[in-house]
Symmetry: D2
Amino acid sequence: MAGNTIGKMFKVTTWGESHGTAVGVVIDGCPPRLSLNSQTIQTMLDRRRPGSSMASTQRREKDRAMILSGVFNGLTTGTPIMIMVENTDADSKAYEPHAAVFRPGHGDYTYQAKYGIRDWRGGGRASARETVGRVAAGAVAKTVLDRQNVRVAAYTIELGGIPATRRNLDVIEQNMFCCPDLDAAELMKKRVKEIKEQGDSIGGIVEILVSKVPKGLGEPVFDKLDAELAKALMSIGAVKGVEIGAGFRSSKLLGSENNDPITPQGFRTNNAGGILAGISNGEDIIMRVAVKPIPSIAIEQETVDHEGQARSISVKGRHDIAAIPRINIVCEAMVSIVLADHLLRQKAIQY
Amino acid sequence: MAGNTIGKMFKVTTWGESHGTAVGVVIDGCPPRLSLNSQTIQTMLDRRRPGSSMASTQRREKDRAMILSGVFNGLTTGTPIMIMVENTDADSKAYEPHAAVFRPGHGDYTYQAKYGIRDWRGGGRASARETVGRVAAGAVAKTVLDRQNVRVAAYTIELGGIPATRRNLDVIEQNMFCCPDLDAAELMKKRVKEIKEQGDSIGGIVEILVSKVPKGLGEPVFDKLDAELAKALMSIGAVKGVEIGAGFRSSKLLGSENNDPITPQGFRTNNAGGILAGISNGEDIIMRVAVKPIPSIAIEQETVDHEGQARSISVKGRHDIAAIPRINIVCEAMVSIVLADHLLRQKAIQY
Amino acid sequence: MAGNTIGKMFKVTTWGESHGTAVGVVIDGCPPRLSLNSQTIQTMLDRRRPGSSMASTQRREKDRAMILSGVFNGLTTGTPIMIMVENTDADSKAYEPHAAVFRPGHGDYTYQAKYGIRDWRGGGRASARETVGRVAAGAVAKTVLDRQNVRVAAYTIELGGIPATRRNLDVIEQNMFCCPDLDAAELMKKRVKEIKEQGDSIGGIVEILVSKVPKGLGEPVFDKLDAELAKALMSIGAVKGVEIGAGFRSSKLLGSENNDPITPQGFRTNNAGGILAGISNGEDIIMRVAVKPIPSIAIEQETVDHEGQARSISVKGRHDIAAIPRINIVCEAMVSIVLADHLLRQKAIQY
Amino acid sequence: MAGNTIGKMFKVTTWGESHGTAVGVVIDGCPPRLSLNSQTIQTMLDRRRPGSSMASTQRREKDRAMILSGVFNGLTTGTPIMIMVENTDADSKAYEPHAAVFRPGHGDYTYQAKYGIRDWRGGGRASARETVGRVAAGAVAKTVLDRQNVRVAAYTIELGGIPATRRNLDVIEQNMFCCPDLDAAELMKKRVKEIKEQGDSIGGIVEILVSKVPKGLGEPVFDKLDAELAKALMSIGAVKGVEIGAGFRSSKLLGSENNDPITPQGFRTNNAGGILAGISNGEDIIMRVAVKPIPSIAIEQETVDHEGQARSISVKGRHDIAAIPRINIVCEAMVSIVLADHLLRQKAIQY
């Protein structure tokens, strides 16, 4: 119970169901006197909006961010910031046939097992729509990071098995997959088209890069920066794996290969991914997350209903083919939230 | 600051430095009337003790667990359980030459950057010795899990690039690498010998299997069970990646392959790794962590000292060649702690 | 920072400013499958509404409770419950003259000192209007308490120096001061009229009675039930003192007088006020809070402005003469919230 | 469950039972590079030691503070500080007759009701001996406060019904009751002698004064400074009431009397007790707590045993006649802990 808050000094609590009245977030602990208006939030929300990419759902929400508290004359006041987005285009009809049937790969089964009740409309609380609150909070977190010039970027490095072989961050916004490799993006486009026709779905890998990170962030031994980032990223619906720096590859390296030599000019390599012993070392933080394929597919699947009877299901509705690239901005938001929290926690050290 | 506690209802706080007087842990929130004595703790501690494997440090600690509070007449009382292990065999001399030099791959650099001071003896707080407290708490957590027959096992599935190709859990305790594949264990033995001679070190992959998990554990949307497990595992010093179920492999699957069909007899597959939408579904929980090679190596490495001057370092002392298999029991402990916490949190649902 | 949440398992976070768009609350951790609708909330909110008593402000808000999440088909789902009330009758004009002047006895001075900015409209976050969120959460908490038949009542036992000499709880709702003594209520009425004419204000004492409390609630040694209740009550704007059972009077008693003898039929007396060593003993919990006079008075007062220049101020606007009786329902709400939290926390014991 | 920690940035967790092996505390979040040694702790512990006053128990513990972690070369390192005191003079024999009998006014009854088990030796966890950990943590907190010259003092203003009529803080250490009025102290001495002969006990009132408090401490709306102080003080065993500034007296004042006028030179009065709207205003913080008489008395009392059978009890053993003055240092410690926590939390504002 009571697991809807993340952060200790920069505390983010999301609320809302997919087809309820609205979704939103309360941010408690944002420093006062930062410039903030609904446009800041809107810009970031627009990047996660359905329909902004070929791989995305057809649901069209205006997703208008409303700041209902915590801001006065365009400045934060240090009091809780509540941001809300109304659910204007929710169409629960498509979900009615599945009201008593568990969609494979979704939270239907486990929510029912845990709570003995679930809002089946659009996936209820387990819907990706909940991430609206995360992204709004991420926009506020970025305002906090901006003061120290910390930059967070998330981009697609693999989709449907097609890897990006370049890391040209300049082209991320030039293709619908937020891919740093335009050639790969072309192949991804074809792949998505193919999969769509098959009524199937795909996953991929997102990389998150944080630059200009101050040294010293992270609170060992449990609230280490990488541990907190891993939790934040793993709390995103479709994420099934998280790694930092050389990650799983480091398990195959020798100590002499994996250690990053230190020189008077800084670290010579960055296999650590910017974090040593749970504390940022001033290098770029680099993480990757494995994103599973969207579980809603048109292809028939075996399942059971609330009575445990065998059923077959084909999930039609308006669904994405891949969580990527919409999930990228959510990754970016979660990483920003954790960093903002740790920037504030680190202030206590400087007592 | 203040990051040394994990858990909300089953709260674990470790304290102590590698070469300080002692290391230990306070466990607050353990249910009353559970059988507990120092032998329970000792048995688990013995499994992480240095010198129990060929890959391990020569440091010989008796590691005698003392329970100083919270237990009366062999039963827990519901009050904080403090468990302490004295540091009897600490030899700080070997560390003196490096008192003002940052060992690559260790927390020396970041602790100094964060706190402006560090206990350089044996790595201080960043030493693997801190995990004594984790393992002791893990033994208490297992006592909690026992009441519901939940079982946690961790074993080596890759070491120095050599993979286990079988999962025969019966043989784990029959080889010094806790490997479920005796043939692979033989190859690992050779690999370790080789690396030792080179003065280098290796990493690997540990798999954690939880069986008989009740359905319904995990608290969306941030304290999801997989998110909390990821944090707990990533908070272990050498871990650089965490994945659940099909993990990174799921990013390459189609939705129709990755979804686990549900039948009246249960889930047909377990790509989810036992957790759906952050809540346990009753299947085995399966996770894997990437363990980096031990950073302390005899081979010369580039580094700098506190004044930023270039230095070269060869870390001799008594060091493991691999964190595996000693880290396995730490993984087991952390997973047990998270599960105990969530078993207790879940009680509130059953209000 | 980040102090707007109370509770660990039943977590309540309020947000909103007096003259912002809305005020509200997120409740995270409410058990699933409890009946809840906006009318439940509304009934409790109506009891704190301005204008319901002679001592109250003239501000007329409809205070319409909207439940925006966490409830499906009239039942709680175990997900966060967001309740919002719009600020429809806010008139900031009256506050403009004091935008840069600190009203004595209010939070103007300290909010400015702390945050370097404040929403001066209607007292901003420090306004009693914030308690709308508390009362809404209190209504949800009462739904939790109902399942165990726990009852919470708050009533006026002193106003403007006039004490109630009876405790007839049946008449509380029959007089505008929520006083359990109708004769005292008559005298209070005259006192209020008098004070109003003088442009001054008064305080008083509220007693809170909790009956049918299960034994065993409270988590020593810091989250003792009385400690948590004291915090919750002291967090209410006008409260300057809190006592339990014999309270300050117990400091003058002998041990032989103050101890409550235990008999096979139960406790013979209740000087402890229902809590021993921080844990409920099954007797009624009885607490009292000292409520200071409303700081907004028409009488001229000395103060300074943002530049530190001497100023004189007469606060006109639409203000209550006394926080009582509107504060009573807030006390009732806070006590209910703490009890709901501890009812849920206590479930973990019953593991 | 899990209620043995207080503080968010300066986190204090006590552990230990009266007649267990030891009692102690973990302090997580103490800033690095503060001077700290066991003598600092010892000096404060000596002030709470049994036998230091006529009203005190005959139990003689050396109470030797041992710092087992978190300090290196006389400086804090930013890692958890564990401080332990062994129980060397525990004599459980005196408690054996009451092993299955509930002592009135003690936690025996409620601990049994809550946990279904209790360490009856010396009161177990509910013993005042637990405050050793609080006082040790208070000494560390004072080291934090020192850096900003914040001063905390606690003194007796009433004992057994005898009030101090002066506030001469210079004489506090000159009398065994820590009373700021030497004449009253003389009368208290007689009173204690009298009561001792009767086999009874007495209570009193302690006042806590904090001077040189920075403006801006406290985190509305729930973690207000006065709310957190109230909780911390009410969590002390014998405390039954807490008030701040004019406290209960403010409930009888007019607004025009109670408001503290503000002048260019500061506040003209201090009825608020240094806190407005939950935030320190720079004036002295003044609080008072009601201390109940010690429940252990030689006089026969009615009670029941574990089977609910009527019993009579006369508690002999080595007991204080009054919790005052030993409780004063505990009050001082708790207030220091809360202030240290809020000094660190306030740093985040200054982001």
